[in-house]
């Protein structure tokens, strides 16, 4: 298993000059860095190796917020200028959703004062909190689950159930890559990825930054329900992959895709199968036993740690 290398420069240069200097002095190993958090008038914070640290002006990591560098509003404003390549207006739609995607699939979460227009979010002004989440492509992290999902008989309908930050997207990405490329004697399949939040493929200007396989088509930034229908209609995918299903329209689109003979791999927030059973949204899918495999993740020391693998009837396979 190996991490795909992260272009450090690409990340560092989105920050305001002073924070760039601090990050450069900190000499971080970006493969171990998960998050960088900037909050106006609060200490500069990072998540490194799964632990929270504060950075002081000379770039040293420390556990206590005392003496850490206090991020200023000006630094956040400048950072936003660089993130948006001096053209934030071009990213209005993304800003409304509360995040932007960088080249390499890294996500920048944004919070601040929301401007409403007839009860709908129009934009976010006075941006005061940023969370830069680094996307780590861990090639081969799906190796252990692959035999349960993908064998001579084809790909099984799979649902990945995971709490936040346990690597469900990372796992899904690697599954997509391996299924798309094919493994050993197993043939590769045409995979259609509907990447609503540009997290799976990390598309930049429509082209995936992550390795998602040679037979993968990506519908980037498209609402899942619509994207799945478009994929089925236009790209004839054998497998459809989507991240974080959670709306009624998604379920409807899944049913249509299944009807068209596509295999489905999806992820959902949750910590157990019972969790999913209890959500009314998934009731019909559960009753009809649409999914043949459930992969349940937990927050382990590595990305994509599997708690258990269940079959369609909820029996434990491993």
């Amino acid at each position: 298993m190996k991490d795909k290398e992260i272009d450090e420069n690409e990340i560092i240069r989105i920050f305001s000059l002073h924070i760039r200097e601090i990050l450069n002095r900190a000499d971080l190993d970006f493969a171990r860095l998960q998050e960088i958090r900037l909050r106006a008038l609060a200490p500069l914070m990072i998540r490194y190796d799964g632990e929270e640290f504060f950075l002081n002006e000379s770039g040293e990591r420390q556990k206590s917020p005392r003496g850490a560098w206090q991020v200023t509003e000006k630094e956040i404003r400048e950072t936003m200028e660089f993130v948006g390549k001096y053209s934030l207006y071009a990213y209005e739609d993304e800003l409304k959703q509360g995040y932007l995607t960088l080249r390499g699939g890294h996500r920048i979460g944004i919070a601040g004062k929301v401007v409403l227009n007839q009860d709908k979010v129009r934009s976010i002004r006075y941006i005061s909190c940023l969370n830069i989440r680094l996307s780590h492509q861990v090639l081969g992290c799906a190796d252990s689950v692959l035999p349960w999902v993908y064998d001579e008989t084809g790909v099984r309908h799979t649902l990945i159930i995971s709490p936040p930050r346990c690597g469900k997207t990372t796992l899904l990405r690697d599954l997509v890559r391996q299924i798309s490329n094919g493994k050993g004697k197993l043939p590769g399949y045409t995979v259609g990825v509907v990447d609503e939040r540009s997290e799976i493929c990390g598309c930049y200007l429509g082209v995936p930054s992550n390795d998602v396989g040679i037979r993968t088509d990506v519908m980037d930034g498209c609402p899942k329900a619509e994207g799945m229908m478009m994929m089925v209609r236009s790209m004839a995918p054998e497998v459809i992959a989507v991240d974080e299903i959670g709306k009624y329209e998604d379920i409807h689109a899944i049913e249509t895709a299944l009807f068209c003979g596509c295999r489905l791999i999806a992820t959902v927030h949750g910590s157990s199968l019972e969790d999913i059973h209890s959500k009314p949204l998934f009731q019909r899918l559960m009753e009809e036993q649409v999914f043949e495999r459930y992969l349940i993740l937990y927050n382990g020391e590595r990305t994509g740690m599997i708690r258990k693998i269940l079959d369609g009837k909820g029996r434990e396979l491993c």
Partner: protein, 172 residues
């Protein structure tokens, strides 16, 4: 003979100075119009296709003559570098280095520089209205430049000729 030659040369060069002064006025007016065209195109790019600034500059550069074309292209390149300067700083620097060959006045460059302070960061509507505000200011400058042309063009030319004749009489 030599005197006549000298007198003619003085006359010709004085007239030339007059004509070039009036040509400068014309060029100045034309550059203001090009600037207006540039801003109209930029407004279109932002309003209708939400193109990021750097990309919009590249596209507009193709459709404008020098020195605006190089000015825009270089600004776009500098923007790609993300060297830590804000857009306002970068824009002013580019105006200083990229537009020295033009006839634009200090005030015009100042106005153009001020536009850079609001470009990029605001939302779409604010962006478009800032450009529109600038276009209005530009329109006023163009009008006064045109007035200056009609008032001063003939003046410069005849002043050149008259100055030449005066100098010739004085020297002869």
């Amino acid at each position: 003979m030599l005197k006549i030659m000298g007198a003619l040369m003085i006359l010709a060069s004085a007239t030339g100075i007059g004509v070039s002064c009036s040509m400068d006025l014309k060029k100045y007016c034309m550059e203001l119009r090009l600037l207006k065209q540039l801003l109209y195109m930029l407004r279109g790019e932002i309003k209708y296709t939400k193109t990021p600034l750097a990309e919009a500059f590249e596209r507009i550069a193709v459709r404008l003559p020098e020195p605006f074309s190089t000015f825009l292209r270089q600004t776009a390149q500098e923007m790609e570098n993300l060297d830590g300067r804000t857009f306002g700083e970068l824009w002013r620097e580019q105006i200083r280095t990229g537009l020295p060959g033009t006839h634009l006045k200090k005030d015009d460059k100042e106005q153009l520089g001020a536009l850079g302070e609001v470009l990029g960061y605001l939302d779409l509507e604010m962006q478009v209205s800032s450009i529109e505000l600038y276009l209005e200011q530009l329109e006023i400058s163009i009008r006064s430049a045109q007035d200056a042309i009609t008032a001063k063009q003939k003046l410069y030319q005849s002043l050149g000729v008259a100055g030449g004749i005066f100098l010739v009489i004085l020297l002869v």
